[in-house]
Symmetry: C2
Subunit: 453 residues, 2 copies
């Protein structure tokens, strides 16, 4: 064979440390009405070993052996060269993608799920509670808990619970309990059901229920787990970018020119990009592009503010780009990108000019997804299609400029459980959603009086 | 890390030849009313380069470079050591599995789909037609045709078409046309719809339609493609076992003691097992076990006969174990194992005592699938759970005997699009189906007068 298509790493070549961008970028602290939130305040919510990571500013943090062994269930993931996509575009750019769709749950989410499950187990916790929107995170945590031996309780937004039964069935097959949210199991859920018995639910409500289920467990053996946004989650995902750097070197590439990932809460983007952000801080010339949906343009149209992470205002204030905690994004199929805020580290890196965010519409994204499926062969998750659409734009730009750029993106997940979106696209039932500026302004009124980061 | 969990191969270590068991086991010829079917008779159905392979008795056949490049989209596949499953069973056996679930279509089927698509393209064909039951094969061929640049038409059994929309959507996303069978597009379909407009369809009917669509295309540019049973299909799959042998050596294993795969038409089993059958022919001590469902016990309860490959008797007579071409298996969720016959090469190897077939019930299989999902992390396809159940039996036997056996099995596909079966199992809605001997005898009456192999 003339061409090597995939760069593989052996298990012995796996990174032994995560990269913590908080060592190089200072994010403003979590805020409560009493001022900055101290580490101890999180004790009922997270195990203290993870709280310590959340507050750490140490640059490199050792990955425990136990977590490495869990990760080797599917890692290291291959780095693919996208020859056929390049050819279809006719670009001189060399396009690489890190294939995170090969995990048993089908996405990058298990990278932090197994780490969080392991640290909780180590801390003596026996049960985790979490929320899930479209179901990617809930199924990843169910998978991780089954491997580590923890109970797992997932509050799943009712409309997804009803419309996406396969995700729920994945969780159940791995032994997790999955209930529709709002549920009658929590005070938060009961309150909402009393007022609006027919509510489709929301991520905000589900977060409230999952946190309540953790902090009200009188045995003290339950904690809450979050699949994105937080510093320690971003850090667990950096194994993606650290592997990719080794693989690019093996492929004979001295540097990457463009790094791309889709961004909802920020974790798959951060996982690939942060090790390259470090290079950029150290002087490298790299374009690093988080891609968000035009219908939920947090980084490109939101202000950098203090806001709550959830609709019900259960969380402290977080310094981030936000469209307002009460913003309800349009019903695009990329459920994982429908979040009003953005991880503090991704937000601060954007604020400091290290990232070049881009907002794309879903029709362009699905078209890119179809081209990828027909050339490279893998059907991308609706979220991932946003990254691919940006890659195609960059590859066309390289063609116009006649430049042999190296473009690297994160193939964050496959779309095998999201095929109804493709069906609706192919049958012309999908449309783009433009978010008018006055709607954004209206949503942000509520947080106008909040402290500024 | 103390333990290496996966043995990877580089693309440069991929096998360069397929193994053709027909060189070492002679199967009786296809028969028609005029006697043995000559190669030329297949010309309207298959391209002649594949017909030549079907009739070949050459032991090693070169894999064309073009096919190797297509295979590297996802191959070589990893060989995993199942440490946690071993631990859960408490067995001294070392269990390995070849992970064929990582292909973009989620199973081993693309191994022959890309080869068949490539040979058809090479022969000047522009369009393939095929049938699919549960949808695994149809989606694999749709994937292959999109990569190679062929049109693809899939006749999908109506009940699956209606009940498993995700498989149909996969095919459409890769650009294939998928219609419910019986359809109005063929004479065979129209005849059946006229008599029974509400029929749920059957694999036999779908085969008739797919063959008719190929042979009646007056442009001469359409051929038919079959995903199992035939010699050339078995041969394309042997890359699985050939890779596994290299990987076992790297793992430090001098030999495998037990080889296991589930068997419907026989292709995933053959793919893993045939290279080891060659070792057995040459004197090695190996137990080689095809596992079939107890509700469709072709190898364990059927006679070795000449029978048609399809219900509608479109195909010539094939020498194989069969439950009769009119046998309709019980509605188990392992749709890929619901076939009345068995590949001629698998059948003849069984007849010659080289294989030790085993029939297992679906409840034992699902229980094994759940244990695998919770220990090794991947949710198996319902078909694959049959292999896992047999592995667990063998591992328990090794425990009783105190033997450190090496057990290797084929993890033929993931179950992410088959989760309703797990749901029904977990909620107690599934039952075993015993097939009474008198039903088998009744079914076989029709073929009593056929020639004997």
């Amino acid at each position: 064979m003339k061409k090597i298509r995939k760069i593989l790493l052996n298990e012995s070549d796996m990174p032994r440390q995560w990269y913590n961008l908080a060592a190089d970028i200072k994010v403003p602290p979590f805020m409560s009405p009493n001022g900055p939130v101290p580490e101890e305040a999180w004790a009922p919510v997270f195990p203290m070993n993870l709280v310590e990571q959340e507050y750490s500013t140490q640059r490199w943090i050792d990955i425990p052996e136990g977590i490495l062994e869990l990760l080797t269930k599917w890692r290291p993931s291959p780095l693919h060269r996208a020859y056929e996509l390049e050819q279809a575009i006719g670009t001189p750019a060399r396009i690489y993608y890190k294939n995170e769709s090969l995990s048993p749950a089908g996405s990058h989410k298990p990278n932090t799920a197994v780490a969080q499950a392991w640290y909780n187990k180590e801390f003596g916790i026996t049960r985790l509670s979490t929320e899930t929107g479209a179901g990617q995170w809930g199924s990843a945590l169910a998978f991780a808990c089954s491997l580590v031996g923890l109970e797992c309780k997932v509050f799943m937004v009712r409309i997804s619970f009803d419309q996406k039964p396969y995700r729920k069935l994945m969780m159940q097959t791995w032994g997790a309990t999955c209930v529709a949210s709002p549920s009658k199991e929590t005070q938060a859920g009961r309150n909402i059901l009393e007022k609006t018995p027919d509510t489709p639910g929301s991520l905000g409500i589900a977060i409230s229920e999952a946190i309540e289920a953790a902090v009200t467990d009188t045995t003290g053996n339950t904690r809450y787990s979050l699949g994105s946004v937080l510093n320690h989650v971003m850090m667990h995902q950096t194994i993606i970018g650290l592997e990719a750097k080794k693989q690019l070197k093996i492929a004979g590439e001295n540097k990457a020119d463009v790094i791309i990932g889709c961004a909802g809460g920020g974790s798959n983007f951060a996982g690939l990009a942060f090790p390259f952000v470090l290079d950029k801080i150290n002087g490298a010339q790299i374009d690093i592009i988080p891609v968000e949906p035009a219908s939920c343009p947090t980084l490109t149209k939101g202000p950098y503010v203090y806001d709550h992470g959830d609709t019900a205002k259960m969380t402290p204030l977080v310094a981030m780009y936000s469209l307002g905690h009460s913003f309800v994004p349009a019903p695009i199929h990329a459920g994982g990108l429908r979040y009003h805020g953005m991880a503090p580290l991704v937000s601060k890196a954007t604020k400091e000019g290290l990232l070049s965010p881009l907002a794309l519409h879903q029709l362009e994204s699905y078209e890119a997804g179809i081209l990828f499926a027909k050339t490279e062969g893998i059907i991308p998750a609706p979220e991932t299609t946003h990254a691919i659409a940006a890659v195609i734009r960059e590859a066309k730009k390289a063609k116009e400029e006649g430049k042999q750029k190296v473009i690297l993106f994160n193939f964050s997940g496959h779309g095998l459980l999201d095929l109804t979106g493709y069906d609706r696209f192919l049958t012309g039932q999908l449309e783009n959603y433009e978010l008018p500026d006055d709607v954004i302004a209206e949503n942000l009124k509520e947080i106008a009086g909040y402290p500024k980061p």
